[in-house]
Symmetry: C2
Subunit: 164 residues, 2 copies
C-alpha cells in the first residue's frame, strides 16, 4: 500500500478514536449517549425537593417496548432523564421552565450484563462538564436502591403518559 | 376501467376522507397534528397556577430553525404544548409527573396566512375528546394576547434549553 494511504488510514483511525474518547464514561463503563435530546420524549417531570424540572427521553427500542406494554423492556432499551434547575419564566412567572443544566442520567437495558441490578446499567453525568458520577462501579448501588420501590415496573418510575 | 377497479378506487378515496374527517379541527381551520408525541422534545414546563405539567415538542422544521437561532422561525414550523394534570408519583411523592391528559395546543407558522397574529396560527384541543377550543375563529385573540409579552422571541415562551 502506498505510504500516503497508510497515513490517511492512520488519520481516519485517530479521528474515530478521538471522537469516542471525547465522550465521558461512567465508572461502570457506560459512555454518554450524546443523542439524548434527539430521542423522542417519554414525559416531563418536576422535582419539588431538588428544584429541578426534568425531561425523560427514550430511544426507539425503549419506546416501542413501552408502547407494546413490554415488562421488562427488551435489551437495547435506553432511557435518559435530563434535569435542569427549575426557574420561573421571566415574562410569565407562573410558568416554570428549564434554567441551568444540572445533569443527565441513563438507564441501559442489558439483561445479562446488568443482571445484578434488574437488567439495567445506570450512569449519571453532572454539570456542564458532564462529569461522570461515582468513584467506582459500586456507585450503581445508590441508583438501583432508589429504583427498587418500582421493581414491579421494570425499575422505571416513568410510564407512558396518557394521550388520547 | 372494469367495474371492480372503480369500486376499489371509491373505497380507497372514502378511507382517506374518513381518516382526515376523524381529526378534530379548530374554528380557524387548523386540524390536530396527531403526531405531536412523535416529534422531538423542546422542553418540559410546569404551571404552578393551573397544576399542570407540560411538554413542548416541535416538528423538524421548527427544531432546525431554533437550533440555527432563527427568529422568526420559518414557515412550516409547528410546535405542540401538551398538558397533563400534575400528580405526585405514588411510589415517590417528591416527584411530580403527568396524570390525566388536559389538552394539547399548537402554534403553526405561516407568515402570510396568519400575518395578523405574528405569523402564527393557534389551536387548542381539550380533554380526552380533543374538543376544539373556541366558538369561532376569534378565539385566537386570547392565545395571541397571552403570547404578546414574548413578541421579540417570535411569540414563543419556550426556548431551546441549555444542554452541554
Amino acid at each position: 500500500m502506498p505510504k500516503t494511504l497508510w497515513i490517511v488510514l492512520a488519520l481516519v483511525l485517530m479521528a474515530g478514536w478521538a471522537g469516542a474518547a471525547d465522550l465521558p464514561v461512567a465508572p461502570n463503563g457506560i459512555a454518554l449517549y450524546p443523542e439524548f435530546m434527539s430521542w423522542k420524549p417519554l414525559a416531563p417531570s418536576y422535582r419539588e425537593d431538588k428544584g429541578h424540572i426534568r425531561l425523560i427521553t427514550a430511544n426507539d427500542v425503549a419506546l416501542a417496548g413501552l408502547r407494546a406494554g413490554k415488562n421488562p423492556l427488551p435489551d437495547g432499551s435506553v432511557l435518559a432523564k435530563v434535569a435542569w434547575k427549575a426557574v420561573k419564566h421571566p415574562a410569565f412567572p407562573v410558568a416554570t421552565e428549564p434554567g441551568e443544566f444540572v445533569q443527565v442520567e441513563f438507564m441501559v437495558k442489558d439483561s445479562r450484563k446488568y443482571a445484578a441490578t434488574g437488567g439495567w446499567g445506570f450512569a449519571r453525568f453532572v454539570g456542564k462538564e458532564l462529569k461522570p458520577y461515582g468513584k467506582d462501579p459500586g456507585f450503581v448501588a445508590e441508583c438501583f436502591g432508589c429504583h427498587t420501590p418500582v421493581a414491579a415496573k421494570d425499575y422505571l418510575f416513568t410510564s407512558l403518559p396518557s394521550v388520547p
